[in-house]
């Protein structure tokens, strides 16, 4: 059942680092994070890694396994052959702090720039009424565990550092879409999506959707509909006029 696997793990800090080789025991049913923990416990007690729930619910243990952005806790060792060398590296888009831990503060900065939920002023707590079918669209996006794999993989930022200032990334564009689709949100968000959060940078290659461990259809259900609304709004004079007269959705 158990065997010795070959691992390469990136070790280093903001300055420099390299891939280090490890031979390590693997048992039935284990995931990559188990192996990293075994390395910590037996060979490299200072190996830096983030993790919390170990059940795919908190989104802490994001890394790149053989180049693919993944949650280590949800990457089963049985998906590799026993003689395969498994390479674990930190998320490429964010600066390394140490080993597998990166500085993801970019995401928290962007989160803060998305205007909060704005309910109708007169609505009292306890009086909110919404139909299940209407909340489900936003609920899909609220499944997001903020693992930032989509932010890491989106080449609008991955390959273009300069875009970071102007582009919120798929996670936070989806947050804008989530609020826009909230049945009781009163804020006009379409212009903001385009002008403040850089929706135009997205060229719908669906890389974000592919890496999402929660299987949220980020591109199809959040980003494309958002783009369509922005387009509608921008080019429809009646909508423009209507919104001038009565500020409503």
């Amino acid at each position: 059942m158990s065997y010795k696997a070959k691992f390469k793990v990136w070790r280093g800090d903001a300055g420099e680092g390299s891939l280090e080789d490890y031979g390590v025991e693997v048992n039935e049913g284990e995931v990559v994070l188990d192996i990293i923990h075994r390395l910590q416990a037996t060979q490299a007690p200072d190996m830096a890694v983030r993790w919390n729930c170990k059940a795919g619910k908190c989104g802490s243990c994001s890394a790149e396994v053989n180049g693919v952005p993944r949650l280590m806790c949800m990457t089963r060792m049985s998906t590799f052959t026993e003689d395969e060398t498994i390479t674990v590296t930190p998320l490429r888009t964010f600066p390394v702090i140490r080993d597998l831990v990166t500085d993801v503060s970019f995401n928290y900065t962007k989160a803060r720039e998305v205007a909060s939920f704005e309910p109708p002023a007169e609505l009292k707590p306890g009086d909110y009424r919404m139909a299940q079918v209407d909340v489900e669209r936003s609920q899909e996006f609220r499944k997001c565990i903020e693992c930032f794999l989509c932010q890491n993989t989106c080449h609008a930022v991955r390959d273009h550092e300069d875009n970071k200032d102007h582009f919120a990334g798929p996670r936070f564009l989806m947050r804008v879409a989530e609020l826009d689709m909230h049945p009781l949100d009163t804020r006009e968000r379409r212009n903001e999506a385009q002008e403040d959060h850089g929706l135009g940078f997205c060229n719908i290659t669906k890389c974000c959707t592919e890496v999402c461990p929660e299987h949220i259809k980020i591109t199809d259900n959040a980003l494309i509909p958002m783009k369509e609304r922005v387009a509608d709004r921008k080019y429809d004079p009646l909508v423009w006029l209507g919104n001038k007269i009565a500020r409503r959705k």
Partner: protein, 742 residues
């Protein structure tokens, strides 16, 4: 004082960024105070994220009969009356408002047909009560609170041009010491993981919201953060903990594969119709309904199954008993050799709901089993077993303000004790952290308002001492690997202070803890101060060992079984012990010491929410004196009055049955704990002697809470008692056999 320490000043420092911490921070900020939120991990990753089922609040959206009184009653029953009644009362009253205000901050709960917040059934709750979002309610809660914090930051940005002007999140920071000025809180010392930088927070008020202690156990649903930090910080600052022996083993954790053993399987599976079966295919829970709950639970599969669609005319399935009962029952089934191949029991939802419905209601469970165990829960049963989940014990607090016994120190959420008594009902944790998180934030703000200019000062010497302590594992060379000590600690607590406790085993654990304590002083963590997990673990071990010492000593002390504390040698509840809070503090050597203090008494208007016959199962007659419905002393009264002493002739009526129990127990326990049997039989006799009171007139307050179902069951009780006694013949574990027979 060393110069390499970053210093901040705040009004309130909240340690912990889960539900309780964030709710406390929001409240303190709303009261106009400056707030630092200390997160052990990244912002939004706290353990609250793992909560699945929902937040219990008697909104009455699904069943209009629900109200705070029913919720209070369920909470007290679940906690076996060890709860702080004022906390249970505040919680039941305020939970609906706390849930509703989440909607103002953007939360999107599942809805009823008329557009209100939907509520689901859960163990121990009389009515559907849990506000939920599929099976990811904790994520919704943490994200909503996180976004509410951000919303305050956006206000501050508009006002001051700085998001962090009045509320700042210190992600990946760990507090290692609370600092005092005399007997008052003056601040907190810790370090930043990113670079090992030491940080000092000067603040007159600290709110502990650090969650639980599960990482001292091997099989746990808890994440790496749950190392009892707040419990230990409180002890070290001179505060007290109560009832640390009460630990909840959630009945359904994954048991396979080994690497995920302990990961939670939500109670919603059972709330939505899932049933537990042993390897013989039997729904075994029917054989484990204890006397105190018998009236509320179905006796046949048919009745149980009807309850899902017609709860007003049928009783609940026994799978929905409080967690302590279900966990012990699973434990006995496995011990009796009726477990699954991987040492659990089967939890079956596949044969109960259409596949589509399972995926809709339980998406994360579907996902979790599919990805981690190759099990399709829409087609086959899950294998589950008990896992260390929650500590009911915690910092002793004032119910209204969440203040601890140390001035300026507050505690809320799992780290606080009292609210849940000896066992927490599912769903009461999320509502607890909202209710008492807010109260802690208010308590801290009010405390500061009273201080005015008289702010406490941090002492330089204390900062230097904290710094030296934190550096020790890095500077000590050639010492032991902290991972080794941690894994031995987990094994020890799991094996010796686990779900069923035995005196000699707990005593052995206490001795081992002493050894670990010595070994901890000689730990080495190689590497630098930058994000060094070995160093971190070495520091966390201090907390885990302190807390484990409290748990083990309290578990040895409490000579009864109640909720999350099961003693094989004292297998039943004792009305005398019910009145005792075990209060833990540190002695001069820094070791846990215990004191007995009375559990706060329950006000008469709250007692009147129960039938006297039910209260008799928990309380002494003195406590019940003067209640409406109390009969003058009769046979049963006398029996209860001699609680814990030898039961004499007045128990004659039930002697025959008690003798039967004794035989059963003797067979079951064999040579293991022979002296325990006599005690069991006695206590069983007491419990039985109380049965005639069952037909007691209802109290007035009772009548508004749909009493029909309860009254009609009275006649069936003798038959059920007999069935239970028969059932227990098959049990191996003495404790569990007792549950069935008492």
């Amino acid at each position: 004082m060393s110069t390499d320490t970053l210093t901040y000043e705040y009004d309130v420092v909240v340690i912990g960024a889960g539900g309780a911490g964030l709710r406390a921070a929001i409240e303190a900020r709303a009261q106009g105070r400056s707030v630092a939120i200390i997160c052990k991990s990244l912002f939004g990753k706290a353990h609250t994220v793992m909560a699945e089922g929902g937040a219990a609040a008697a909104m009455g959206n699904v069943n209009a009969n629900d109200n705070w009184q029913v919720h209070f009653r369920d909470t007290m029953r679940g906690g076996k009356f060890l709860n702080n009644p004022r906390m249970a009362e505040l919680h039941a009253k305020e939970a609906p408002d706390r849930v509703w205000e989440l909607e103002e901050w953007g939360a999107l709960f599942d809805r009823t047909k008329d557009g209100k917040i939907s509520q689901r059934n859960f163990g121990g709750h009389e009515y559907p009560r849990l506000a939920h979002v599929g099976d990811r309610t904790g994520l919704e809660l943490i994200r909503t609170l996180q976004q509410a914090v951000v919303s305050f930051q956006q206000k501050d940005f508009r006002e001051h041009g700085d998001y962090e002007a009045r509320i700042k999140v210190f992600a990946e920071h760990t507090i290692t010491r609370l600092l005092l000025d005399g007997d008052r809180i003056a601040g907190a010392f810790g370090y930043r993981r990113e670079d090992g930088q030491f940080v000092l927070f000067k603040a007159p008020a600290v709110v502990l919201a650090t969650g639980g202690i599960g990482k001292s156990y091997k099989v746990t649903s808890n994440s790496w953060e749950y190392t009892g930090d707040g419990h230990a910080l409180a002890l070290l600052a001179g505060a007290t903990l109560i009832n640390m022996e009460c630990i909840q083993f959630h009945p359904t954790g994954m048991v396979w594969p080994p690497s995920v053993k302990g990961i939670l399987v939500t109670e919603s599976v059972r709330g939505d119709g899932g049933v537990l079966r042993n390897s013989e295919g039997k729904r075994f829970m029917f054989g484990y309904v204890p006397d105190v709950f018998r009236k509320q639970y179905a006796e046949t599969e048919e009745e149980a199954d009807r309850w899902y669609t017609d709860p007003d005319h049928n009783r609940r399935p026994p799978e929905l008993l409080p967690r302590d009962e279900v966990a012990r029952s699973i434990n006995s089934e496995v011990k009796a050799g009726r477990g699954t191949p991987h040492g659990g029991v089967f939890l079956d939802i596949a044969s109960r709901l259409p596949a589509e419905e399972v995926r809709r209601r339980l998406p994360s469970m579907y996902h979790q089993f599919k990805e981690l165990a190759d099990v399709d829960i829409t087609a086959e049963p899950m294998e589950v077993g008990p896992t260390c989940h929650y500590v009911m014990g915690g910092v002793e607090v004032d119910p209204d303000t969440a203040a601890s016994s140390v001035l300026g120190l507050f505690a809320a959420g799992e780290v606080a004790g009292g609210m849940h008594g000896s066992n927490r009902l599912g769903g009461n944790s999320l509502s607890d952290l909202l209710v008492f998180g807010r109260r802690a934030g208010l308590g801290a703000a009010d405390y500061i308002a009273r201080l005015e200019q008289d702010r406490p000062e941090v002492q330089d010497a204390d900062v230097d001492a904290a710094r030296t302590e934190a550096l020790a594992p890095l500077e000590f060379e050639a010492g032991e690997n902290p991972y080794t000590v941690h894994s031995e600690l987990q094994q020890t607590m799991n094996d010796l202070v686990g779900i069923i406790r035995r005196e000699h085993e707990v005593a052995a654990a206490i001795e081992k803890l002493g050894e670990f304590r010595e070994r901890r002083e000689k730990l080495s963590a190689p590497g630098s101060r930058t994000f060094n997990p070995g160093w971190h673990l070495a520091l966390d071990l201090r907390n885990m060992l302190l807390v484990s010492d409290c748990v083990a000593k309290a578990a040895l002390e409490r000579q009864e079984s109640r909720g999350g504390h099961t003693r094989e040698d004292y297998p039943v509840m004792s009305a005398t012990w019910r009145k005792v809070n075990l209060v833990c503090s540190l002695d001069e050597q820094g070791r846990a010491k215990l004191e007995h203090k009375p559990v706060p008494t329950i006000r008469h208007d709250l007692l009147e929410l129960f039938e006297v016959s039910e209260l008799r199962k928990y309380m002494t007659e003195e406590e019940l004196a003067g209640l409406p419905g109390m009969e003058p002393a009769d046979e049963a009264v006398e029996v209860a009055a001699v609680e814990d002493e030898v039961v004499e002739a007045e128990a004659e009526a039930v002697e025959a049955e008690a003798a039967e129990v004794e035989t059963v127990e003797a067979e079951a326990a064999e040579a293991e704990e022979p002296e325990a049997e006599a005690v069991e039989a006695e206590e069983a006799a007491e419990a039985e002697a109380e049965e005639p009171e069952e037909s007691e007139a209802q109290s007035e307050a009772e009548s508004e809470d749909a009493p029909e179902a309860e009254v009609s069951e009275t006649a069936e009780i003798p038959a059920q008692a007999e069935a239970d006694a028969t059932e227990s013949v098959a049990d191996v574990s003495a404790a569990d056999g007792e549950e069935g027979a008492k």
